[in-house]
């Protein structure tokens, strides 16, 4: 099957990109974030950190149709491509916006892969419910059958760790084993028998938690859960990588601008190659990741047999880019970038979080190698 030369990035996509960028700029998410987290800086005292969720902004996104965007028309959605969804993830990352949109989009692709049994859950996403995936055990394994949750008579028991944006989600898609076979279930976060312990995480723009199921009733949406998760994983990875591409572009631009105005030794520091060249290397890294992201999304849309390899390459590149750009942006901003007040630290921490989400660079290159 042939891939379109333009990734399938047409007029509609241009318009969505502009709209999403305008929306994120208008919301000034970091200003709101600072108000919400003020006073919680001290890491030594206190075992928790408040997450931050702008419910009004979420409602606007729903009305803009962003939650419906990736849902197939058969389930009442708009049925657009992953390339289109990637545009949103990239802009969310560029704004470091605290929102369950990316988790919800990732969950959407799992539900899509599950087929018709999941349609009514997809419909909820169209209506504006936020969703997330509960598929990782405490050790952070992320294979399609890594779950340690067990099912008995349709009731879940066990704990899922590292559930993203769990504070903001209405329902969860859970991987659980019935007599050794991994299946997928969906249930409301508020269901009886579901308890959430919020993690105290480094990233201020996300929240994360451990969800313990104690005989909670859930609806089975896929008998062969491992197969469904494997089919959705390229989309899950590509969406994180897109977030990184957007976030690292912001870090690179912010550092280049700072280097043009900040003076040391009577020169703007961008004059010095020890500053200029690492920033250029940040651009090169961010560009590589962005190109691999659109390739992975386009492959998922139009050349499925190439989707897995392309997604592994996108995430491995994203993990390296996230680490490198976070590191250099703080270093080159000097003391000021190291302060709580500066936005660089917020982006830095978000990249660290994305770097390890569903596998680091070494892991994904190892997976990619199996296709060569």
């Amino acid at each position: 099957m042939a891939q379109p030369k333009d990734f399938g990035f047409g007029e509609e996509q241009v318009m969505l990109q502009e709209a999403a960028r305008r929306f994120c700029d208008d919301k000034q998410p970091l200003t709101a974030l600072r108000q919400a987290t003020a006073g919680s800086e001290d890491p030594y005292h206190g075992k928790d950190r408040p997450g931050h969720f702008d419910a009004a902004a979420w409602q606007e996104m729903v009305e803009l149709g962003w939650t419906a965007l990736a849902v197939p028309e058969s389930a009442g959605g708009v049925g657009m491509s992953l390339v289109t969804a990637v545009i949103l993830a990239e802009e969310i990352g560029r704004a470091a916006m605290p929102t369950p949109l990316t988790s919800t989009l990732q969950t959407t692709y799992v539900l899509k892969a599950a087929g018709s049994p999941a349609n009514n859950w997809l419909a909820r996403i169209v209506e504006g419910q936020a969703a997330s995936l509960a598929i990782q055990p405490h050790d952070g394994s992320h294979l399609p059958d890594s779950t340690t949750i067990v099912v008995k008579d349709g009731r879940l028991s066990g704990t899922a760790s590292f559930v993203q944006d769990v504070q903001k989600t209405d329902f969860l898609v859970v991987a659980a084993k019935e007599s050794g076979q991994t299946k997928l279930y969906a249930l409301n976060t508020a269901t009886e028998g579901v308890s959430v312990q919020f993690d105290k995480i480094v990233d201020l723009t996300r929240d994360q938690g451990r969800v313990t199921f104690d005989g909670a009733a859930a609806e089975c949406i896929a008998e062969d859960g491992a197969k469904v998760l494997a089919a959705a994983m390229p989309a899950i990875l590509t969406l994180i990588a897109a977030d990184v591409a957007g976030g690292c572009e912001w870090l690179m631009q912010a550092t280049a601008e700072y280097a043009s105005v900040r003076t040391q030794f009577d020169r703007p520091i961008g004059f010095f190659q020890a500053v200029k060249h690492p920033i250029v290397n940040m651009m090169i890294a961010a560009d590589e990741t962005r190109s691999l992201v659109y390739n992975a999304a386009c492959a998922y849309d139009t050349e499925p047999e190439k989707a897995a390899l392309a997604a592994h390459l996108a995430k491995s590149s994203a993990a390296d880019t996230a680490e490198f750009c976070a590191n250099r942006s703080t270093q080159l901003h000097g003391g000021i970038g190291f302060t709580w007040e500066h936005d660089v630290q917020i982006y830095h921490k978000r990249q660290l979080h994305s770097k390890q989400l569903y596998g680091d660079a070494v892991w994904h290159r190892e997976q990619a190698a199996s296709y060569l």
Partner: protein, 402 residues
């Protein structure tokens, strides 16, 4: 990535190219060919490659889209097909790469009618080999600091100075020459000439590279007389003309079918993977060493990224600005290639010591030779350090370092 469909004419022409190349593939040389056109040093290789280019020209694979009056084949939109098929076929490169890649595009844009009609056909047929006289000893990356002087003398110009790193200078009949016509004005004091290499005042001295190859030369110019009608564009316009062909080099070069080396980056990384899978040391293949595999995959990842960036560059909403991706091409291509060859030497281990020509050398010793030649890419045509300045200043708007 599979590519979208051709038009009917295009697919017919593509078919023609494929079958012609299949039937006319030249026999291998007795001694291995250099890896790229700018390293051709010996007569046996020259005559073999000139003959090959001439036949490809006759077959319509070169100058495919150039007007018939200038010796072209008068097609439109076919050159890219021909060039792609030549690359895919894994046949030899075209020796007259400076003629095709730089002289022809320059003349087509800036040349007079007479210059086009006189010079283009023998460029296409490789009857006239061309070389480039831009770099000078001591100038290095500061190209515009060139000192070779051109002094007006009636209807002629008197040229004195010397050039360096002149590929094919020892075979060339013509040189693209930048000379200084005004000492006061660094950039606008440079004029562009076509210099006859057979002039008695021209001496060519080969430079041996660390590889042992001598494709490069020093060229000394003593009282070389050039009639004014061999000047290209206005007096003082030389820098502008040179830059216009340098920056569009790849694009423009393809315009008439220049192919300076026979291998795509993907072909190289794929051969490296194959070599890693077949090289065994201390009881396992190098591909079975996860750390080596991780490094190979990083190179593969970056190679794929470069390919996809070229694709993304064509989409305004995704390219971050018209020049951002194109200006990264040379830097990334040369550094990824250097990393890949360095890694290849690690993979070969003790066998990396065996040079081209050694009967036991893996892949005919291509990796050691290729590794050393990657420095041509990271040093010449604006070193990687200069490329990073350009990107930081022109693309990201940071202050100039000079």
């Amino acid at each position: 990535m599979s590519i979208s469909k051709d038009s009917k004419e295009q697919s017919e022409f593509r078919e023609y190219c494929r079958s012609w190349l299949e039937e006319n593939r030249p026999p291998p040389t007795e001694f291995p060919l250099p890896q790229a056109a700018y390293e051709v040093m010996t007569e046996d290789h020259r005559s073999y490659l000139v003959d090959w280019q001439a036949r490809c020209y006759e077959a319509g694979l070169i100058a495919t889209d150039v007007d018939k009056e200038y010796g072209g084949h008068g097609h439109d939109g076919f050159q890219i097909i021909a060039s792609n098929e030549v690359r895919k076929a894994g046949v030899p490169y075209f020796i007259n790469w400076i003629g095709l890649g730089m002289a022809a595009p320059t003349l087509l844009i800036h040349g007079t009618e007479e210059q086009k009609q006189q010079f283009l056909p023998p460029i296409f047929s490789a009857e006239d080999i061309w070389c480039q006289g831009f770099s000078e000893p001591g100038a290095g990356s500061d190209l515009a600091s060139l000192q070779t002087s051109a002094v007006k003398d009636g209807d002629n110009w008197l040229i004195n100075g010397s050039k360096v790193w002149t590929s094919l200078g020892h075979f060339a009949r013509w040189m693209l020459l930048l000379a200084r016509t005004d000492k006061q004005d660094k950039y606008n004091g440079i004029t562009y000439f076509l210099c006859p290499m057979e002039h008695p005042g021209v001496t060519v001295k080969p430079i041996h590279k660390m590889t042992g190859e001598s494709g490069f030369n020093e060229v000394f110019l003593e009282d070389v007389t050039i009639p004014d009608d061999l000047r290209v564009d206005a007096i003082g316009a030389g820098w502008k003309v040179a830059m216009s062909t340098l920056t569009v080099e790849r694009g423009a070069a393809q315009g008439v079918g220049a192919i300076a080396s026979s291998e795509s980056p993907f072909a190289a990384i794929e051969q490296l993977i194959e070599t890693a899978k077949t090289t065994t040391r201390n009881g396992r293949t190098l591909w079975e060493d996860p750390t080596i595999r991780d490094r190979i995959l990083k190179v593969y990842e970056r190679t794929e990224a470069s390919t996809q960036s070229a694709r993304r560059a064509r989409i305004n909403a995704l390219n971050g600005g018209a020049m951002r991706i194109p200006l990264q091409g040379k830097l990334n291509g040369s550094e990824i290639g250097q990393e890949m060859h360095q890694l290849a030497m690690t993979i070969l281990g003790p066998a990396a010591s065996l040079y081209i020509g050694d009967t036991n050398a893996v892949d005919n010793g291509r990796w050691a030779l290729g590794y050393m030649n990657t420095y041509t890419g990271t040093i010449s045509g604006g070193s990687s350090e200069i490329q990073r300045n350009i990107l930081g200043e022109r693309v990201l708007g940071m202050p100039k370092t000079k």
